[in-house]
């Protein structure tokens, strides 16, 4: 037995953390010893059931959770999301076929889908030519002929309703460190768009244009330029006032900058090129559909690590909020989606709001988005008060994550790395839920965005996941 560390202690200055009787800390300070008093609370707020679960977990001494989590986080940090191309969903996304519709969030059936998602499905079916009008599309959707599956089950992610159908073009994102890929549609723009449930002819037409013109042109430009290092881009945009979920203006600008020199060299009519550039320029959130698959392929590398309590998926479908944990395989833990607490655009109130929806919370899962709020002071005005609040938000997130990111840094926090590796055990222990900021859709399909704000995920998911984790890895 080595006692070197004890002998080392004899040579150091005592620096004490005191848990319990305050007088012990007071006495130490009187002798010039640095002593920090912990304002201790029983774990899980004294919830004996949870405390018993913790005991069970600890009883398994062969479980090295911290090592498993360390591995998971390292894989996330090593990730190299790279944009390698654009493809058609059916040809590119594993398992995709004509009668399959992918959606955001955990699994949900047609009858349980919220308004905006149903609207988007209808639009998607019409776009695919499987139905000629709304009534037909509805009937088809309800008939059982169409399969509905989460984007996440096919290595994909989708913002808001997140509907992906066979003919849609998708970004192809490759994690060069581990070889896995992720896919996402191209962002249609703002206002009346499919992802908010709009499905008018205007929407269908735009989708058609994207498939016929936008995607092929961008593909050629990308081929000419070569793959784009997204990690590098995201690191830059975090220092330019973006956070990758609700604020993407810098990202969109940088992306245009990357492709412009190649677009200009393409053998296409000027008007078409101009339309493409204008389209991207007018949509501040164009970059979102790139940051999302970047996050997805990065965090996917941490899936399926035995004994790891790192959360690898968070997603909502407008009805349920769901999470998945690395050491618990593909199991979803869901609970009813919550309402967003936010600011509304003129003319709208919280009565108009749809519940929280979309796969975009994959950005928080990897440590940007709401977790990097301190990087985006502009956001703060809309989700609460002062830039100081945004900083406090991010600071709180450090309590439930495992490491600080080594590439994504926040200038306002002295370039501290973003909180990375959300630990479901820490969430239960500290009673701190992940901070998510998001847009708010109108509850009626097709109206569009009505506001934005902060949303607290339902804690039931995390508690259920924790219970399952203890069930699997705990011991009596």
């Amino acid at each position: 037995m080595s006692v070197k560390k004890i002998n080392d202690l004899f040579k150091e200055d005592l620096t004490v953390i005191n848990m319990g009787l305050e007088s012990f800390a007071d006495n130490l300070r009187e002798q010039d010893v640095e002593a920090v008093q912990v304002s201790w609370k029983p774990p899980a707020g004294g919830n004996k059931k949870i405390a018993a679960l913790f005991d069970k977990l600890e009883a398994n001494t062969s479980l090295d959770m911290s090592r498993a989590n360390e591995e998971a986080v390292d894989r996330i940090l090593k990730g190299k999301p790279t944009l390698v191309g654009i493809g058609i969903a059916e040809e590119t996304i594993p398992g995709m076929h004509k009668k399959l519709v992918l959606h955001a969030g955990p699994p949900v059936t047609w009858d349980r889908m919220c308004g905006p998602m149903k609207g988007a499905v209808i639009g998607g079916l019409i776009y695919e030519g499987l139905a000629s009008d709304h009534k037909e599309a509805e009937k088809l959707a309800a008939s059982g002929e169409i399969a509905f599956e989460p984007c996440h089950h096919h290595d994909a992610v989708g913002p808001m309703a997140g509907i992906v159908t066979a003919s849609m073009p998708v970004w192809i994102m490759e994690n060069k460190a581990f070889g896995n890929k992720a896919y996402c549609t191209l962002n249609e723009g703002l206002g009346k768009v499919l992802r908010y449930g709009a499905n008018s002819q205007e929407v269908i037409d735009k989708l058609k244009w994207m498939g016929d013109e936008l995607a092929p042109i961008l593909t050629k430009a990308l081929e000419m330029r070569g793959p784009i290092d997204m990690k590098n881009l995201i690191a830059q945009v975090l220092q330019m006032g973006d956070e990758g979920h609700n604020r993407n203006r810098a990202g969109t600008s940088l992306f245009i900058r990357e492709l412009a020199p190649y677009l200009v060299m393409l053998d296409e009519p000027k008007e078409k090129l101009q339309k493409v550039l204008k389209f991207m320029h007018e949509n501040d959130h164009f970059f979102l559909n790139l940051s999302m698959p970047s996050a997805k392929c990065t965090v996917d590398a941490a899936k399926g690590i035995e004994g790891s309590s790192v959360i690898v998926t968070m997603a909502r479908n407008g009805t349920d909020f769901g999470i998945r944990v690395s050491g618990l395989g593909d199991q979803w833990f869901t609970a009813p989606a919550t309402m967003v607490d936010g600011l509304y655009l003129p003319g709208y109130t919280e009565d108009d709001a749809a519940p929280d929806i979309g796969d975009s919370v994959i950005t928080e899962t990897v440590g940007i988005g709401g977790f990097a709020m301190a990087a985006a002071p502009a956001i703060v005005k809309f989700v609460g008060g002062t830039p100081h609040d945004a900083i406090n938000f991010t600071k709180q997130m450090y309590e439930i994550t495992i490491k600080e990111n080594d590439t994504y840094q926040i200038p306002a926090l002295d370039f501290r790395g973003t909180p990375t590796g959300i630990d479901v055990v820490r969430i239960v222990e500290t009673d701190i839920l992940p901070a998510i900021n998001t847009g708010i859709a109108h509850k009626k399909p097709g109206v569009g965005m009505v506001g934005a704000g902060l949303v607290k995920p339902p804690e039931k998911c995390f508690f259920d996941a924790f219970e399952a984790f203890v069930e699997k890895y705990g011991r009596e």
Binding site: D284, L345, Y348
Partner: protein, 311 residues
């Protein structure tokens, strides 16, 4: 996702408070806490924040709704959270609306999924027999005659002027008929009498009600054993702390520490256990616990006989 045209941000409608969402979760919500209230923080202590607001039922008046972090402090006017937030000061506004409690303009806690704490007691018999427990209680209370509260009533001495007055009031207590039942009248003169932020008299009365409730039925379903009307009329004559306690007990909803007191007395098998229960009560407040225990003792020594002469 917002950002739909930066111009729109200059003219945004605020549909409700835009400060960040609450970080705490209300674990238990007292059944008498109104769905909506607005008030002011009156005091902050290590484990409690007291908010004063007004209620109408059964009579209009001020009441404390307390933010608590220890279950033993819970009442039907309480909100139990895992940690009392720091930085709260008397004078700050307190608002509960749409399931969110805001203090000083900052959203502090939400109550989605909070359990309801009603404060009703299940009653039952005394394991060691009512008379024996009463006698042991008497002995234990006499040892605390010098507490400054009413414990001295269990003996012969009057070590403080408040207990002396209380003795005279209790001597005059009698039974009257109200709504077809016999109830104890005259105790309303004890409201507001004595030391402590919740005066001893109020604690004593709550103990009498506790003792009476223990004698059968689930509390809240039986009419209180003490005459209601004059009591309700006296609420504004005592401190807000006292009034809050009386409102609770008149509704049959007793504070958690009184649940514990009664349970200990009911399950006690030996005098030591009764002594321990009294010591435990003595550690609550300064004399509150002892004064309520004294009320329990008084009910079983005299009060009961007033309203059930044969019992």
């Amino acid at each position: 996702m917002f950002g739909e045209g930066s111009l729109s941000f200059g003219v945004v409608t605020v549909s409700h408070n835009t400060s960040r969402p609450p970080q705490l979760r209300v674990v238990m919500r007292g059944a008498l806490v109104p769905k909506y209230f607005s008030g002011e923080i009156r005091s902050t202590h290590r484990h409690v924040i007291n908010i004063e607001t007004a209620v109408d039922d059964p009579v209009p008046g001020a009441v404390f709704i307390s933010l608590l972090e220890r279950e033993i402090d819970m009442t039907a006017y309480g909100l139990l959270v895992s940690t009392i937030p720091g930085g709260m000061k008397p004078g700050m506004q307190a608002v509960l609306a749409d399931g969110v409690l805001a203090l000083g303009g900052e959203k502090i806690a939400h109550d989605h999924g909070a359990g309801v704490w009603d404060g009703f007691l299940e009653t039952g018999s005394f394991r060691a027999g009512e008379e024996r427990v009463r006698a042991w209680l008497e002995n234990a209370l006499q040892r605390h005659a010098d507490s400054g509260g009413f414990a001295a009533l269990a003996g012969e001495t009057d070590p403080n002027p408040f207990a002396a007055r209380a003795r005279r009031v209790l001597f005059r207590a009698q039974a009257v008929e109200r709504g077809g039942r016999q109830v104890i009248a005259g105790l309303h003169e004890l409201v507001g009498l004595g030391i402590g932020f919740t005066p001893s008299g109020d604690d004593f009365i709550s103990g009498v009600l506790l003792g009476a409730a223990a004698s059968g039925g689930r509390t809240g379903t039986t009419y209180p054993a003490v005459e209601m009307e004059p009591m309700a009329g006296q609420l504004q004559k005592t401190s807000t702390g006292g009034a809050t306690l009386l409102r609770l007990c008149l509704a049959g909803r007793f504070p958690a520490y009184q649940h514990r007191l009664l349970k200990s007395l009911r399950t006690a098998r030996t005098e030591e256990e009764v002594n321990a229960a009294v010591e435990d009560a003595a550690s609550h407040g300064e004399t509150s616990g002892l004064d309520s225990a004294t009320g329990v003792w008084w009910f079983h020594s005299r009060g009961k006989k007033l309203i059930r002469p044969s019992g």
